[in-house]
Amino acid sequence: MKTVVNIRVNGVEQSHEVEPRTLLVHFLRDCCRLTGTHVGCETTICGACTVLFEGKAVKSCTLLAVQADGSEVTTIEGLAADGRLHPVQEGFWERHGLQCGYCTPGMIMMAVQLLERNPKPTREEICHAIEGNLCRCTGYSHIIDAIEYAARKIAEVKK
């Protein structure tokens, strides 16, 4: 028995008929064809599937699409929607914050939330914020550098 789920994804109304058990990440990837959100563990540990759900960073692999019905979701594809990179994306590029890129969308979404809540985080605060996001390539140092870069960039723009 399928049900219609309506989610506003990156500012676009998405309406798809899915099984009630469909995970949000599969709604995004399979129905909306937004494949930037990745699946790494299916158990909320690795954070590769992190998206902004009503503005909050959540793991979309353990949220049902029906739970997100009527809500607003931002994925990695929605960050540079106006064609310009978000400062966090820019930071990851400038500071070599990624290698294989698989964890990167989730890591970036988590960092976006961090900087919205705490515009001037310390390295410790950054580490704490991305504790739920695993990266096996970079060894995290450059990711932390990237988020610090983004924080500075956002502060400059606000001046």
């Binding site: 599969h26 990851f92 991305i130 096996r136 995290y140 140092s141």
Partner: protein
């Protein structure tokens, strides 16, 4: 060309060309591929480590909604060949490892049946309707127990659990041990590790019935080797197979294999006439993608009282799991070859026994045999210093070959190409503020703290390697084409999966051709584009693949010089090429650029006599030797007496990988490698219980480092060029993982030394340290 002084693009810390698609979420990994009519496969795996399969009932699964087919070993094993092992030893006993289990399963995760359905949910649902009648059989999950007389057998048909034996020896071992002032013995366990790339494995197979051709998109490091090996399994000839490695989400050696599922999906796509996708779950990845390490060694060193190393002897058990994947037997041989590390030694011997147990196969995991060697020799250096009451720095300096002794022939038959081990050590000591650091340790100890300093001076073998060392060729292939527009296409047979060669190869090509880097596109990972290649592993891609590209460009320049001479109405030898321009010597104003030459080369109306149109060249680079990067890690740690927790308070590393094409990428590789070492040294261990059940089958149970576990690094490099290639480069992908682990271990053991604790095996978890401290405290 220099790592320090950037000239052109080479040596510049440039941000990566591949990044925009990755940070925007618009790159294409294998699970992002959807083909018309595509079906989804899910694999049923054994819950037992060892069992007889009496019967499989699949009728209910076949009737499950959306299911197209259910296949067992009886359905596919006669049509789909055995999973290959490319590096058997002369005495290897290789079990017939079919793509699906036939009458017996021999590790948890062993594929038993496959469901193909219209979507991934339907496929997974149907797995629950397959009834397998198993008779559990006795299990052995411990290599030492596996060698006992009454042990259960992993493969009863062999009558033994010994999979193979291998030895390397040189020099007068007995004489050296007799001559020694001291013989020091230590047993060390190299725990089993799980690579855990964040993207699990997966593939999409498409059969093109009209042409009789197969396209396999697969998350692999080795599309070319898969293309070489797959025909033997599925009966489709090599020239009708195209392998595509799209974006690959991390590998670390775990995707340096041809796996059962790749062959199975290729077969099923052909059989069902529809594309078949299979994406591994994390639990499957932990259980049925190769593991790494898992050696147990008894080591003995013979030393003089001044710390001079005379000989090293090792008896090693390699617990290889239940069968041989592509390179399983080769891994411990790399340990043997590098066992003497960066030290002179008079004699050595290593005897390896490969042992079958009811566990997943081991194979190449980042470092692949070399981390074991470095860990052993660097731990032994510290133990020697400790026993002889010598300074660990001085013991190392005493045994290093001098920079003038390179090329340096080792006892194991290798020739270290170039080195200055003293230079890297000295620089690391300077950066660490060594004297102050040792005073800090003294003061910390006075105040009752457990503070330790650890050192590792490593050398590794990279750029694998000359073809005579490799089972399927050790060259690399490249192709460079100046397009008609003057734009440049660089094609490499290497298969980067995060290392950044789309950038570093563009840097190399831009300098050599004298064109802006924006004019260059680097293509890789598709056998229809990169016709030949030996792919990416063993820190080989930049060195061997990059040199192949330089060779292509040399050919193109030589060819273009003839065309330029013709167009400039002069002799070939009068033409100079500089800064991307061809001109008559001394007359640079009247020059021809690539953009001017290229259309002439392709329109071909005004070309020299007997000059073949086009500006394209391909090359195979056969390296004359491997390369031997080296360096020093200095780590300071503090151990919490109450919890056993290790905190890294200082981390210094100086690495020498010859000239650096892109120092930013080098830094990234080193840092990433060290993170794997932090995991190995402090947290990670793949655990099977005595029944062969995998207890670390999830990220929840397998403790990989998180951001908070990473120290801030003080990093630098020295530059000792390699004479083995024209760019003087060495490779760096595994350096961090090879060099760092012993430095961290040595630091922790130094911290615990006041308690009389000499050695603990990795990982040095808080619990293990706390348990070791507790009785020591009572003393």
């Amino acid at each position: 060309m220099s790592a320090v002084k950037a000239k052109g693009y080479f040596g510049k810390p440039m941000k990566r060309i591949e990044d925009p698609r990755l940070i925007k979420g618009i790159a294409t990994y294998v699970d992002d591929i959807t083909l018309p009519g595509m079906l989804h496969a899910a694999v049923l795996r054994s819950p037992y480590a060892h069992a007889r399969i009496n019967n499989i009932k699949a009728d209910a699964a076949k009737a499950s909604p959306g299911v197209v087919g259910v296949f067992t070993g009886a359905d596919v094993n006669d049509k789909c060949g055995l999973v290959p092992c490319a590096s058997p030893m002369p005495d290897s006993k290789i079990p017939k490892h079919t793509v699906l289990a036939s009458d017996r399963v021999y590790f948890v995760g062993h594929p038993v049946a496959v469901v193909v359905a219209v979507d991934r949910y339907a496929a997974r649902d149907a797995l629950d309707f397959i009834e397998v009648d198993y008779d559990p059989l006795p299990v052995v999950s411990d290599a030492e127990k596996a060698l006992q007389k009454d042990s259960p057998l992993t493969h009863p048909e062999f009558g033994t659990n010994v999979a193979f034996t291998w030895s390397v020896a040189n020099g007068g071992l007995n004489a050296a041990f007799k001559r020694a002032h001291r013989v020091i013995k230590q047993r060390m366990v190299h725990q089993r590790l799980t690579p855990m790339a964040i993207e699990p494995r997966g593939c999409v197979a498409a059969w093109h019935a009209g042409e009789g051709t197969l396209t396999l998109y697969t998350s692999t490091q080795i599309p070319h080797l898969v293309r070489t090996l797959l025909p033997g399994m599925i009966g489709v000839p090599e020239n009708k197979i195209r392998i595509v490695a799209p974006e690959v989400g991390g590998a670390f050696g775990s995707k340096l294999n041809l796996y059962a599922e790749e062959a199975l999906c290729s077969h099923l796509a052909q059989r069902l006439g529809a594309p078949v996708k299979w994406i591994e779950s994390r639990r499957e990845n932990a259980a049925a993608t190769i593991h790494g390490r898992d050696q147990i060694g008894d080591y003995e060193v013979a030393v003089k009282k001044d710390g001079t190393l005379l000989a090293i002897r090792s008896k090693t058990l390699a617990d290889i799991g239940a069968y041989c994947q592509l390179n399983t037997p080769a891994i411990p041989t790399l340990t043997g070859l590098m066992l003497t590390g960066c030290y002179k030694c008079k004699a050595m011997r290593m005897d390896v026994v490969g042992v079958y147990t009811h566990k997943m196969a081991t194979d190449a995991y980042r470092g692949a045999g070399r981390p074991e060697a470095t860990y052993v020799i660097e731990r032994l250096m510290d133990i020697i210093a400790d026993e002889l009451k010598l300074d660990p720095v001085k013991v190392r300096l005493k045994n290093f070959p001098k920079p003038t002794e390179f090329p340096f022939d080792t006892l194991t038959g290798l020739t270290y190409d170039s080195g200055n081990y003293q230079g890297a050590l000295k620089k690391a000591q300077q950066i660490s503020n060594w004297n102050k650091l040792t005073r800090q340790r003294d003061e910390a100890r006075k105040s009752g703290k457990l503070f330790g300093i650890g050192l590792s001076t490593y050398v590794e073998i990279c750029a694998l390697g000359p073809s005579k060392m490799m089972s399927a060729g050790g060259w690399e292939w490249g192709c460079v084409r100046i397009e008609m527009s003057g734009k440049v296409t660089v094609i490499t047979g290497a298969t980067p999966h995060g290392q950044g060669q789309e950038t570093s190869f563009a840097q190399i090509a831009a300098d050599q051709l004298g064109v802006p880097i924006e004019d260059i596109v680097v293509m890789r990972g598709d056998t229809a584009v990169a016709h030949y290649g030996r792919d990416t592993y063993g820190s080989r891609a930049t060195v061997i693949g990059g040199t192949a590209i330089v060779m292509c460009i040399d050919k193109i320049i030589a060819k273009a010089r003839k065309l330029a001479a013709h167009l400039l109405d002069t002799k070939e030898k009068s033409v100079e090429f500089r800064g991307g321009k061809f001109f008559v010597k001394g007359k640079p104003k009247k020059a021809l650029t690539w953009k001017q030459l290229a259309p002439e080369a392709y329109v071909a109306k005004n070309i020299p006599k007997n000059w073949e149109p086009g500006l394209e060249a391909s090359s195979f680079f056969e390296p004359p030797n491997c390369t031997y990067p080296f360096g020093t890690h200095i780590v300071a740690v503090e151990v919490d007496r109450d919890t056993g927790e290790v905190r890294i308070v200082k981390y210094v590393t100086v690495n020498d990988c010859g000239y650096q094409v892109n120092p930013l990428l080098v830094e990234g590789q080193v840092q990433g490698g060290i993170a794997h070492s932090i995991g190995q040294a402090l947290f990670e261990r793949t655990v099977y219980d005595e029944n062969g059940q995998l207890l670390t089958g999830e990220f929840m149970d397998y403790a990989m480092p998180r951001a908070k576990d990473i120290p801030q690094y003080l990093m630098d490099s020295t530059v000792t060029p390699s004479p083995s290639n024209s760019m003087g480069i060495k490779g760096v992908g595994e350096a961090g993982t090879i060099g760092a682990t012993p430095a961290i271990a040595n630091a922790v053991m130094d911290a615990l030394s006041p308690l009389g604790i000499r050695h603990l095996d990795l990982p040095l978890t808080p619990e293990k340290i706390w348990r070791a401290i507790a009785p020591a405290k009572v003393k």
